[in-house]
Symmetry: C2
Subunit: 177 residues, 2 copies
DNA sequence: CATAGAGTGTTACTAAATAACATGTCAAGG
DNA sequence: CCTTGACATGTTATTTAGTAACACTCTATG
């Protein structure tokens, strides 16, 4: 049922940290998810679809309970499993990612591509971007192999400041000076 | 107060996934922590010391509440902050690491060395090893820099099977065959 | 002998995650 | 046409993780 995914180069990157037409950005991700789900015979049901839309509203990571609040307000179930099931589905299908450092979830910015990103988490604006992670993953794999460890999944997450927030921080420390 | 740390090569590596004299291993880590704390003028108080000892009993990661249970049973406080404060201290001083994938803590196997490990987490036996992470970190740094992101901290964690558990899994799937 | 800081303990709460069970929908298969 | 089973959704209830805020005790330092 699952066809080979296109290589990352075939899909335009999302400049999370730059100004961009986000409405279009979200729309595209949703369309991609819909197409993939249809092709794979999966059901992108109302809760699941709405959950993805909620995540897609921004490039922030959202906690399951934050998502749940939104779903509940819109007439879906109001108990934790409702949110967790929808989020787990999205993560399994690669429409969203789990950000372990934050115990939170973010919509994937490159759904449908074969990608193993490094997550860049800005502590200023809470945005989460996906940087190409092939090299970093290879290095992790090599380090593991050296001691006979077989890697199944890896989470590579970096916390710091995005360009805009770093600029703002520099400016304010100038002001103090 | 803080002196330059010795490069990783000067301290023997801990073969977490191999049979080793663990009593000696734990003892060494504790001694190193004591020496460092003394040198830095930090107080390795009874709760903190005992918390480290508990983590050092195995190479597993332990949840804060699991540690707390042990502390409480030994006459220390029985409320969450008791465990969290001791664990936070150990992490800050580099005597332990936080494993975000597991929401848990593990004693550092190379305390006192300048290291930025990749954590290898075995899903079979729950052991956590530290593999050299310089290359992987450089790759993450490079990926981040490419989009103007300034990395402050990174968590690199791989889940999979250690040599022993991978061997056992292979054997049992042979048995089925 | 103040008194300020660090460390430890408490109560009380918020947040994250899962187990277990009841109900509804719908597509085969008889 | 009516089972039957898979899947999705909803619930209640509980466990696990993490923090805020306050009180008490030490131990310097002036
Ligand atoms: Zn966007
Ligand atoms: Zn992605
Ligand atoms: Zn050991
Ligand atoms: Zn370490």
């Amino acid at each position: 049922m699952s066809r080979p995914l296109p290589p990352p180069e075939d899909v335009p990157d999302v400049p999370v940290f730059a100004r961009h037409d986000h409405a279009r950005c979200a729309e595209g991700a949703l369309a991609a998810a819909e197409a993939m789900a249809a092709a794979a015979g999966l059901r992108l049901t109302p809760v699941r679809r709405r959950t993805l839309e909620i995540l897609l509203e921004s490039h922030r990571a959202m906690g399951a309970y934050e998502v749940l609040e939104r779903l509940a307000a819109e007439g879906f179930g109001r108990q934790p499993p409702v949110a967790y099931r929808a989020l787990d589905f999205l993560v399994e299908q690669g429409f969203a990612h789990r950000i372990r450092r934050l115990n939170a979830f973010a919509a994937c910015t490159r759904p449908g591509t074969d990608h193993q990103p490094v997550f860049l988490i800005c502590r200023g604006c809470n945005a989460v971007a996906e940087a190409p992670g092939a090299e970093a993953r290879a290095a992790v794999e090599a380090a593991a192999t050296a001691v006979g460890f077989r890697v199944e999944r890896a989470s590579l997450e970096a916390a710091g400041l995005c360009p805009a927030c770093a600029g703002a921080a520099a400016a304010s420390s100038d002001a103090v000076r």
